[in-house]
């Protein structure tokens, strides 16, 4: 019998690799709101005639970067009044919010090294070479140009009145996604006719795998890019609870109990999107709500490409102070653990979105996969029943765990890391997300 002599260095190498593998695999990198990244999600962008949004994106590196951006408009029209809406409850009683098309519109931006840039969503931003005499420290409201290096046109979002989200991802010169982890962003939402503003940081996904394939699929799997969080923690006032400061001051805007209620809006976006095939993603968002008495409540809603509204529109009782009984509450939001058919061709009879146990339940080329992850931000509206004035403030959620793990249907994560279904035991699926990028259309954005 031939005996292979054991090489102590190769054995040591194997040991080191195993240890590094354990260390490397011990935690999936999660999304971030305070570090530069390669993909930025702005979960709440509003430009609907009552509010507008200022987007800031900055290149934090010493090399130029290019980014491909997609607006997704989730507004519709009320069935009778024709008013802009995104939920049925935005419309008068008895009417429904129709034609929410999840319309996407893309554009391209280039940033020189360390360059910050801004634009006003409802108007976009024209290249600054249109300015013959640029104003200092101000944008030109007529030409929509601002001082600074800007050679590309940022168009207004698609569909007129806009409520939805924006995602930007770094690309190379051929518009193929690439990762330099160089961009960061903020969104400032302003209530028109006032100076009231809310600001939050974009949610970033860092590129992790420098040797990964360059293709048009951005895999948010914890291997190629950061994975989406398993859930998010959001602290907020109970719906209709009085503002703690205004109520204690008992000033003119809040003379008595219930006169200065705080209302909270939440915006939610699925982590997965397919811009290449223009398909929408639907997720069931589930809420575990805890009041200050450590009592738990729950609520859920469908999120189709975007959900934005007040907590009491999501559920009229579970977030209300009458139910919760305490001023503050904590909500943990995540997508449901059930599997759904996804990825099929809708024109080919795919039953995308249908619940399933395995691929045999899905049609039209769809496969049975875990629901997409969710990203969210909250915005508080501090109102006064007396003066009708208000103040607003937005906040990023806190991330708990990360996807990129095997998931059991209707039962959650197993803890086993993965990036494909093949890495999971039979019957389990790998909960990962992806963005299907579309190649930039140069003809539509000079």
């Amino acid at each position: 019998m031939r005996v292979l002599k054991r090489n102590p260095w190769l054995t040591g190498l194997g040991t080191v690799l195993s240890l590094l593998g354990l260390w490397w695999g011990s935690a999936r990198a999660a999304a971030t709101t305070d570090q530069p990244a390669s993909v930025l999600f702005f979960p709440k962008v509003i430009a609907d005639g009552t509010r507008d949004t200022l987007i800031q994106i900055t290149n934090t590196s010493n090399s130029p970067v290019e980014a491909h951006c997609e607006y997704v408009n989730a507004t519709g029209l009320c069935s009778v009044s024709g008013a802009v809406c995104s939920l049925n409850s935005d419309c008068p009683v008895g009417q429904t919010c129709n034609d929410v098309l999840c319309q996407a519109g893309d554009f391209f931006i280039g940033l020189t090294k360390q360059q910050p840039t801004i634009w006003h969503v409802s108007t976009g931003r024209d290249p600054n070479f249109l300015l013959s005499n640029p104003p200092i420290g101000a944008c030109d409201p007529t030409s929509k140009s601002c001082p600074g290096i800007s050679f590309t046109q940022i168009p207004p979002p698609p569909g007129g009145a806009f409520r939805g989200y924006l995602v930007c991802y770094e690309v190379d010169d051929s518009d193929v996604p690439m990762g330099a982890n160089a961009i960061k962003g903020e969104a400032t939402i302003q209530t028109l006719g006032t100076a009231q503003i809310s600001e939050y940081n974009a949610v970033g996904f860092r590129f992790l795998n420098a040797t990964g394939p360059a293709d048009e699929t951005i895999a948010l799997d914890g291997v190629e890019y950061d994975a989406c969080p398993q859930s998010q923690l959001l602290d907020h006032y109970s719906e209709r609870a009085d503002d703690l400061v205004a109520s204690s001051a008992a000033g003119p805007s809040c003379p008595g109990p219930g006169d200065c209620p705080v209302r909270t809006e939440i915006a939610m976006v699925p982590c997965s999107a397919d811009f290449a095939n223009n398909t929408t993603t639907t997720v069931i968002g589930q809420f575990n709500i805890t009041n200050e008495f450590e009592t738990h409540f729950s609520a859920s809603t469908n999120v189709t490409c975007w959900w934005g509204g007040r907590l009491n529109q999501l559920n009229p009782t579970q977030f209300d102070i009458g139910t919760l009984g305490s001023t503050f509450a904590k909500s943990q939001v995540r997508s449901a653990f059930g599997f759904v058919c996804s990825g099929g061709d809708p024109t080919g009879g795919a039953n995308n979105g249908a619940t399933c146990n395995d691929d045999s339940t899905c049609t039209g080329g769809a496969t049975c996969e875990p629901q997409a992850g969710l990203l969210s931000v909250v915005e508080d509206f501090h109102t006064s029943a007396i003066t009708t004035t208000l103040g607003t403030a937005a906040a990023n959620g806190f991330f708990v765990g990360s996807r990129g793990q095997c998931q059991i249907n209707n039962n959650g994560f197993t803890g086993q890391l993965c990036s494909t279904d093949a890495e999971c035991p039979t019957g389990q699926r790998c909960a990962v997300d992806a963005i299907g990028a579309r190649v930039f259309d140069h003809n539509s954005n000079p």
Binding site: R28, L54, I118, C146, Q190, E294, F399
Partner: protein, 398 residues
């Protein structure tokens, strides 16, 4: 000639170096994950100006209570002759005498116990005590508002034995006006020190909302997340010295902080009327929370400012314990001449990179808009970004 042994060594060294430099799950402080230490860089109370800060602190642990030892650090300076808070010596005039305005940095500490998953909020001006805490006694399972000591007192339910907030006390800030910071450290309730090893979990998260009731009835609110410093769990030692950095007990604070902002005096691109002003708050990551050694919390902030033309400006400023200033008053007493003024930078938006020499810096920013024609104002706070590598810092508990 490389021997087999040397080749193996080179491969191992390369792999260790290569993988060691590869991106890890998390290395910095963060404002988006629960942590073992949370820092609220700005607590702002001025009762006369109708300004207060609402602090929200939450236990993210689903099964365990968490005790947090918290420390208000008073960033006010005081007049040597009157003892009153001041911003400059010009405010220390008392009759014919002019006093000096000297920083003090006094510390006020307190304990808060949070039950599993419990959110808690309080006004910094008023604090929270006694019955203000939600769970001071055992309560009925079918009515959390009904106190009980046995099942017989809960018709149709049981008297829960869940943990309570008993023993917690949040004092009001020590004076008004007050401006300063708040640190909360997860501790073992029995020892008052960080729990040993894996018992030190990353369970705390928080938000602070600075609210001002304006004369026109508007409620100006600005919210930002607390900055968390996560424990490295098994590396944690049960001592009063918390070491921060790569491979240390806690994750390190970043060496570079990045702030995106509108330049001061820039015109709001949305309404084309309001003027922007940004206020920056910086606190050192290293701090002696016993108050004995303020020199630990010192640093020099080196600022690099970029406008949209890729032009670069720079300045520096000393940071002792607590620093707060409008951007355009960091480098000069004449804001119109500041490198952060829109008329100097020329563009609307800017990026400021802050490199700390000495203790690392934790930051918050607050954008304010003032619309003179509508006579309205509003503001929004936001967390700043971080870059570079984590640096070594130390937090000392009393």
């Amino acid at each position: 000639m490389l021997t087999t042994r040397r080749i193996g060594s080179a491969i191992v060294a390369t792999l260790v170096l290569g993988l060691g430099l590869a991106p890890t799950a998390r290395a910095f402080t963060n404002s988006d994950q629960p942590a073992a230490v949370v820092v609220f860089p700005r607590i702002d109370v001025n009762v006369a100006a109708n300004r207060d800060t609402v602090v929200q602190l939450t236990n993210a642990n689903a099964t365990q209570s968490v005790t947090a030892k918290c420390f208000y650090i008073n960033g006010n300076s005081h007049c040597t002759n009157t003892g009153l808070p001041c911003a400059s010596s010009a405010q220390c005039v008392s009759g014919p005498f002019v006093g000096a305005c000297l920083p003090g940095w006094t510390v006020t500490d307190f304990l808060v116990t949070l039950t599993p998953q419990q959110p808690l909020g309080w006004s910094a001006a008023e604090g929270l005590r006694g019955s203000g805490f939600p769970l001071t006694t055992r309560v009925c399972s079918n009515n959390p508002l009904m106190a009980c000591s046995n099942d017989g007192q809960c018709p149709g339910g049981t008297c829960l034995t869940n943990p309570t907030n008993a023993g917690s006390l949040v004092p009001p800030v020590p004076e008004t006006p007050f401006v300063g910071e708040l640190h909360c450290v997860e501790v073992d309730r029995n020892t008052g020190r960080p729990p040993l090893g894996a018992n030190n979990t990353n369970d705390l998260k928080g938000e602070a909302t600075v609210e001002t009731l304006l004369p026109d009835g508007t409620i100006d609110v600005a919210t930002a997340n607390a900055v968390g410093i996560r424990s490295n769990l098994t590396r944690n030692a049960d001592t009063n010295t918390l070491t921060l950095g790569r491979g240390a007990e806690y994750e390190g604070c970043e060496a570079v902080t990045i702030v995106n902002h509108l330049f001061d005096g820039a015109v709001d691109p949305i309404d084309n009327t309001s003027l922007a002003n940004t206020e920056l708050t910086l606190v050192p990551c290293s701090v002696d929370l016993s108050g004995a050694d303020p020199s630990l919390a010192t640093s020099t902030a080196q600022f690099l400012v970029f406008n949209e033309f890729e032009q670069r400006f720079s300045t520096s400023r000393r940071v002792n314990c607590f620093f707060q200033s409008p951007l355009s008053r960091i480098d000069t007493t004449q804001p119109d001449r500041s490198i952060w003024n829109a008329s100097v930078s020329g563009t609307v938006a800017g990026q400021t990179r802050i490199r700390a020499v000495g203790a690392s810096l934790i930051g918050w920013a607050r954008l304010s808009l003032l619309n003179s024609s509508l006579n309205t104002q509003g503001s929004a706070a936001y967390n700043v970004h971080q870059d570079s590598v984590p640096a070594t810092n130390t937090i000392l508990l009393p």
